[in-house]
Amino acid sequence: MPVTPQLRCCDASGCRSAGGQALRRALEEARDAAGLTAEALAIKPVGCLRLCGSGPLVACDGPGPSQLFGGVAPEHAGALIAASVAANDGSAAVSDDPLAAHRLDLSDPFFALQQPVVLEGCGQVNPESIDDAIAFGTYAQLHRVLQELTPEQVRDEVRRSGLRGRGGAGYPTGLKWDTVALQPPGPRYVVCNADEGDPGAFMDRSVLESDPHRLIEGMAIAAYAVGAERGFVYVRAEYPLAIERLRLALQQARSRHLLGNHIDGTSFNLRLEVRVGAGAYVCGEETALLLSIQGQRGMPQPRPPFPAQSGLWGAPTLINNVETFTAVPAILRQGGHWYAGIGTEHSKGTKVFALSGAVVNTGLVEVPMGTPLRTVVEVIGGGVPDGSPIKAVQTGGPSGGCIPAERLDTPVDYESLLELGSMMGSGGMVVMGASTSMPEVARHFMGFSVNESCGKCVPCRAGTVQLAQLLDRFVEHRATPADMERLDALCQMVKVTSLCGLGQSAPNPVLSTLRWFRHEYEAACREPAACVAAGGVER
């Protein structure tokens, strides 16, 4: 997009922790030393440039194709400035390029296979500047919607797009919006779930840190579509930079009258506030989240009533994930049909994944739904660093499961992952190499669930504790055939009788590893042969 020469420096928390801020200062000094002005060469802080594992990242734009550099230290600043000058005046690249080791190939599948929709502005715009966001086109759809479309038309477009909730369960977004909009007259709320608690997931954090205005635009459009005048973004406290940027963005939007009363000269009013969590995974569950916003213990409540019928202070409440809201402006701009044209029959559009674990390229990946898992982890991710084969891919966090190597050709969509005993979850993908023991992984997740159970219902509160102890017996090689049976029976019981999604999915990591790596459990028995004979779990 930009023709003006500029250096885009990643200033999201990943690259920050790798020294991104010092690098940017060094670049500014080097630019001044080279006698260039800020107009001649802009140095712009931007959000995530995707390949977080190779930070700090700097992108260099000029008349030609952009270049990307990774793992650059402040001492490379001079060379980077020189490279960007060279790129702009068309002079040939120097023969012994001091940056050769830091050049990242933008034609590498990691970048080339991505299709940014949600992440469109991520890495392009300065997250702390509303002018930059507006110049990039943010808020244009809000403006159009308010001036030209009725709430029904907005909802039609979203329904047509086939967008499904990106928070994990994949509930059709258009249907949810309709449910809220069609409740009896009265106040309504919109809530954005930015609690992103799944370990291994950092998509929502990146959106908040990289392009907060896009989320605000999406939420405002949603509020208009369902008739809400007040909303909340519930962000986990572990994301200080995201909170800071979101607060700043809200303030900027208010000062531009993009939030507040009579937005854009219409009768539409919207007040948005940030609410910060306090460290409780279960508050990602929607009923718990709503209680937490109301200043209470985050203990899930039985549904129905669903939040869409009775949520905050008893009023109909629309609750969607960060990525869900952020996809909305693009859908309105390009049309629901366009979005529905991407992806698979039942899972439309693109999905952002956070790749991590035993994989060469760790970072953010946005690909069309239905992309084979193998493409994501082996082609885009580059496989295990030492070249050994992948053993399994964990998706869906503590609610999901481990997908074995032999199923890597499965397309990534809601239904296929469920079929494999895992789930889409919020989009974390942790790659596991040969050395990872599956009973230990299962124990790891169960420990997480024990720690995060809210304690309300018996199966989850007491059952996960017993499951963790049972798994200990496998990890410590003292399990018996009876333990195998107990493990299976208790997993089933906790899964079907727990009150909320946390308990209902807590056994998934065990069930999926039992299904695909049962021999590891058998081998982990005190007398493996006896456990093999006992059978117990049907495949």
Partner: protein, 192 residues
Amino acid sequence: MLHACRALLTVAAAVASKSWWETIAMTPSAPASTDPRIAQVIRRHGARADALIEVLHQVQELHGYLAPEVLREVATGMGLPLSRVHGVASFYHLFRLEPPTAHRCAVCLGTACYVKGGAQVAARIEQRLGVRLDDAAGDGVWALQHVSCLGACGQAPVLVVDGELMTRLSVDPPEALDARLEAAGLPQRTTT
């Protein structure tokens, strides 16, 4: 009879010899001193019940932790039942009900960090500092707790030392890890 029965119950339950309320000795009606800043925080939120978590965050920032007398002031100031305030404060991981140690480490044991050796990092620090993971009291100066994902999974395994994020720790060889820990100011308390 009554006393005999009560004694029996206590024994049956294997209760620690000293009752916990003897050790916290608290006067219910007269708080030691009131902190006008707490009232200010509450006023800023219009004393709305739904602001309780925000208020607790800010009060914890002022005091370092949420002592019982502080929670009592919050409850009184916001017009909320004491048990409700305690219930909320004790539900969330990030609220501290005990005074924190001067220095704190938080090691990530989320999945990505776990796969990359987070547990070994934790074990090494436990050994180095001579503290147990998730024992808030630590050794009085240092304490080590775990967190489950800081969203920095791309740089796993990660560790936070006194608020500073350290990334891409390598656990192999252990000496390399020791050097990073040394640089972060973690004292070597035990001999290996």
